[in-house]
Amino acid sequence: MYVPKHFAPPEQAVRDLLAHQEASDLITMTPRGLLATLLPSNTTRTPARTAP
């Protein structure tokens, strides 16, 4: 994303945005091309981990 310095938000503000999101667009690149779905979503903070 193009983010000029003056539009770069503080880290805590970004955490707040993610914590308060209610729905968001999930986008994946697949062999069929780009797919996207609007989904209600939760954000969970957990200790750092890697996906299974």
Partner: protein, 158 residues
């Protein structure tokens, strides 16, 4: 996600991306104090957005999905006079509904965010944007006004 949606079945190339959007609003240059001075002003769009990247994990697991559904329902029902809860529906009906969806999780690896909130404008224009948004009253205007105020680069300066 609906089980009938092919997106969860398709192998993902690289990371998944989630676009999160906060409040947004059209900004008319008529709110800029500098318009009256020189008219070298243009309209713009104020917004808050984040692009979240990470590995997609599919949870075809009724217990995991039910926990997320309960969390979502509790969160969004909280402001209602008579909050609905999953437990009000018959258990066998809930089990059938849970089979109609799959859970998807993005394990976040990085986040890119942009809050475009008139921070590049002179102080008098920022004040004009806040006042204009508060007066106009369209859908997200008050939330954007609050965000412009919260991220006002001149706040606290004499």
């Amino acid at each position: 996600m609906a089980r009938g949606n092919d997106q969860w079945r398709e192998p993902v190339q690289g990371e998944a991306m989630v676009i999160v959007r906060g409040p947004e609003a059209y900004i008319t240059p008529s709110w800029y104090a500098t318009k009256a001075e020189h008219h070298r002003v243009v309209p713009t769009w104020n917004y808050m957005t984040a692009h979240v990247y990470g590995q997609l994990v599919v949870h075809d697991d009724a217990a995991w999905i039910e926990a997320q559904i309960r969390r979502l329902a509790d969160r969004h029902e909280a402001g209602h006079e008579e909050p609905w809860s999953v437990d009000q529906a018959p258990a066998d009906f809930v089990r059938r509904q849970l089979r109609a969806v799959v859970g998807v999780e993005v394990v976040i690896s990085r986040v890119e965010a942009k809050f475009k909130l008139s921070q590049n404008q002179p102080r008098e224009n920022v004040e004009g944007v806040i006042a204009g948004l508060e007066a106009r009253g369209r859908a997200d205007d008050s939330a954007v006004a609050a965000a412009v105020r919260a991220h006002d680069p001149y706040a606290g300066r004499p």
